[in-house]
């Protein structure tokens, strides 16, 4: 299908706050994004013409923010509300090979939903990992450098060569990806075997490094992962904030113009969807 025909749902609830720039990222690449409130899928408190069905979209994006305030574990409330009313629709959506993207709070929601990592099934009943409080115990808004580690499985990075480093800013208080202590080794083994590792935090020399280049203390510097099929992808940093070179933190140092590092992620998924559907 043509990119112009790809329908993207940018989902929101109260406290979502990155929907506008997420919408804009897809729109400027020619797709048809729409900002949809979860209640439009659930049919609550909305008019008939506001009702929507997940099946009508090709890409589901869960943007960043503080859904419901994130006063309990980040993303948990939103995930619970989706699980309660949309579980089967979500499973079918992923099963069809459509794409699901979670950025920042969206990544937290996908982990809480059991869609990520999703080692052995599309959607685990119980979360298999957690994005927990940063080692610094603070909200961290800073530039982060992401090394692309995926070998071709992830739909969202197909246009990015393996080993490339992207600048995407991070802005979160809970981004440390951890697995249950008894299953840590096996989890990382699976991530590697199934080509689920997508981005790692590196320093300006391209080496794996600690804080602040890894802003949250995530084990093994993991910044983003996909599911074994490569069609569900979550990352903590914000590619939608760097669609233009002029949104990079240091762009005035080199006088470049043109695209920002985040664009390749949106281009990749639109390209993959247009090939597959």
């Amino acid at each position: 299908m043509n990119i112009e025909d790809i329908k993207v749902c940018v989902l929101r609830i109260e406290g979502t706050n990155c929907e506008q720039e997420s919408f804009q990222a897809f729109k400027r690449l020619g797709a048809q994004p729409e900002i949809v409130h979860l209640k439009q899928f659930l049919g609550q408190d909305v008019t008939d013409d506001e009702k929507r069905s997940l099946a009508d979209y090709h890409i589901l994006m869960i943007p960043g923010g503080f859904s419901s305030g994130d006063y309990v574990r980040a993303g948990a409330i939103w995930a619970a509300r989706m699980k309660a009313g949309l579980k089967d629709d979500l499973k079918a959506f992923v099963n069809e090979g459509k794409a699901v993207l979670g950025i920042c709070n969206g990544f937290q929601v996908l982990v809480e939903l059991g869609l990520l990592p999703g080692f052995d099934e599309i959607m685990a009943d119980v979360p298999q990992a957690v994005l927990t409080t940063n080692d610094s115990s603070r909200f961290e808004c800073r530039p982060t450098l992401l090394k692309h580690e995926n070998k071709g499985n992830c739909m969202f990075t197909s246009k990015i060569p393996e080993g490339d480093v992207l600048m995407c800013p991070s802005a979160h208080a809970e981004g440390k990806l951890i697995f249950p202590s008894a299953e840590v080794d096996i989890a990382y083994k699976k991530l590697a075997e199934k080509d689920m590792l997508v981005f790692s935090y590196v320093d300006p020399d391209g080496s794996y490094a600690g804080y602040p280049w890894n802003p949250n203390g995530s084990e093994k510097n993991v910044a983003g992962i996909c599911n074994p099929r490569g069609n569900v992808f979550g990352m903590m940093p914000h590619p939608e904030r760097v669609m233009d070179r002029e949104m990079h933190p240091d762009w005035t140092r080199a006088f470049p113009t043109g695209l920002g590092d985040g664009m390749a992620i949106f281009e990749s998924v639109l390209d993959e969807i247009s090939k597959r559907f």
């Binding site: 008019t47 961290e140 002029e246 949104m247």
Partner: protein, 777 residues
Amino acid sequence: MKADHLYKKLEASFPFFEVLLDKASDDDLEALGQESGTGLSVDELKRIKLHFDTLGRNPTDVELQSLGQAWSEHCCYKSSKSILRDFVFGIDNSQVIDRGDAGVMEFDEKYAYSLRIESHNHPSAVEPYGGAATGIGGIVRDVLCMGCQPIALIDPLFFGSLDHPHDQIPKGTKHPTYLLSGVVSGIRDYGNRIGIPTVSGGVYFDDSYLGNCLVNVGCVGIAKKEDLYENKVGGVGDNLILVGGFTGRDGIHGVTFASAVLTDKSETESRGAVQLGDPIMKEPLIHAILEVGQKKLITGMKDLGGGGLSCVCGELAFAAGYGVDVHLDRVPTKEEGLLPWEIWVSESQERMMLAVSDDNIDKVMQVFKKYDVPATLMGKVIPEKIARVFFDGTVILEVDLEFLTGGPEYCRPMAHVKPDLKAETKLPVLPSDNVDILLDLLSDANVCSKEWLIRQYDHEVRGSTAIKPLQGDIRHSTHGDASVMKPVADSWRGLAIAVAANPWLTSVDPLKGGKSVMDEMCRNIVAVGGRPHSLSNCLNFGNPEIPERLGEFHQAVKGLGEVAEALDLPIPSGNVSFYNETAMGSILPTVTVMGVGIVPDIRKAITADIKSHGSSIYLIGETKDEMGGSLLYRKYDGFCNNAPDVDIAHLQNSIDKVLAVMDEGHVLACHDISDGGLAVSISEMCIGGGVGADLNIDSDQIASVELYSESNTRWLVEVVRGAETEFEEKMSGMPISKLGTTGGQSLKVSHNGSTLIDIELEKLDKAWRETLWNKMG
């Protein structure tokens, strides 16, 4: 209490009283003003009595409370209005679109931007987290109620010294580290949650703020011109719909609390004046408000700030020449048993009032239902210019809106005692090595890196912060002079946003201080390639009933107004905060300015960090021996009454020339010279670029003036190697001097050929970067 006998219970199903002003002595009135929490003076109460005498009755308790809110310093600017009228209200040009709760200015043909800065000082001094958070909430509503999407938050903060010994903190006062930590957390948790980037600000430390910290909060928004709204109803028959959070006992008497000095009892007595914030009510409220606005379902709106319902209902209707009937018992409350007057004056957060025609009520209700935001139909616009409030069928308030909103205005006595020309100059005792001085200045809390807090704020949510508060190489970024937003998706036009304040200079010489703050704001905006376009100010001063304080206010506003008028910079919104004092005395006179500039193409914006080796460093402007209020003198115990002045024509000329030479592409980096002078400025440029510099200053003045003077209208620029001749030609007629070249990993500064400073960048970086981390952890 002493005034209890003035309250006579009236027949009603709820506690409701007549206030027997006709039987009150002067002593009774004085007690009444204090005990009622209204802060009304004896004279003001007598004026109220006279008014009600003509009606043949006494006021009710609800009416008295309502008048107390409307006539508070905070709401009616009774001590400042005549001065503001003399110097700033008249500054106008064709770019001003509206002067409502926020000012609205032209952005381009299709879009307008709005701006406002205000104070949330007293609440933050008592409860830093909630005070600061609800400060953000309030300023966001000011921008929102003009129909604008908020796009940037700006927070200048002022505290006592972080090193102040804990055992010497006055009674009822909290330690500055606790206050700073609480305020930053409050801004972070509210601003980050509602998804509006915090892009600019400043943190200032001086022990005059020990008992009374200042939390100034600013917001800038954007809207298509067709989506703008005014803060008034459309016409008679319009309905008032209250939307947002429930009303509670939090935030009662906030404006009267803000209009009195703080005491050691404020903590216990006024805790209830601080509101409670709920960003997850605000975030959907923003969406719902913008949706009903863009769908043209409303005729006007206004936010509930100081005075709560008591101010908004009347003002919204009266602005259009009408009045209102209000049904107070319909207001959803946080708890049972709120008294009618409490509901009427509560300043609970996250509330807005919409004016809606009959046809659109259902549609508006539907939108708010979708976002889970409560909406309550609670009043109707009537032709008579009165506010009439019903509770359970009883009329509990009926006042003439002209009387209610026509608060008193005072021309209080003032004394001009500054600059103190009799005060003798005291030279500072300086360390012999300039390297030691530079390291001291760089590590001073007023200069040092503010990364500790900047990185706790999300400064790039919404993806439109093109120039961020931290600039330069991502390994060692430095402070910028201004941030630049790209507010419209399909346009490269940008808004530069900068803050300026210099309380020390203003304290030495309020007139020059007012001018200097304007100069600094302009310098900051020009430094990133913006042309100053408008500003909003927050004027924080002590008790205006003390003539010396009001004298400082008068002179500072005069200075500010002189520059703004000459530069044709309108001030479409602003705020005055008086009574910032405690038993220990007043704060320094603090003029905070939030300037907005237009950047024609953000792709040409410039940052402060040095970009390359071998380029040339020029000083633009003249360095003068005017050390009054300077960081150097403060640090090393000097005093001088000669504070930096502003040559306004020169400032105008400099702005034009610097922007022109930037447009030619000759300038790689630019940084204004302010606190700590040239030496600090070049250090910050080197730190941000990770590139050193070798400079020599040829002059007849002593080195300490050349290095540390804070003379106005100066910038340091890095000029492209090979473009020096074009640069100098373009700047002809301007005082410029080539100081040297960039390169290496150290900073070397000489004076008439003899070396004063020679130090590795790494040491500069460490001194500048670590202070706040060490103090705050």
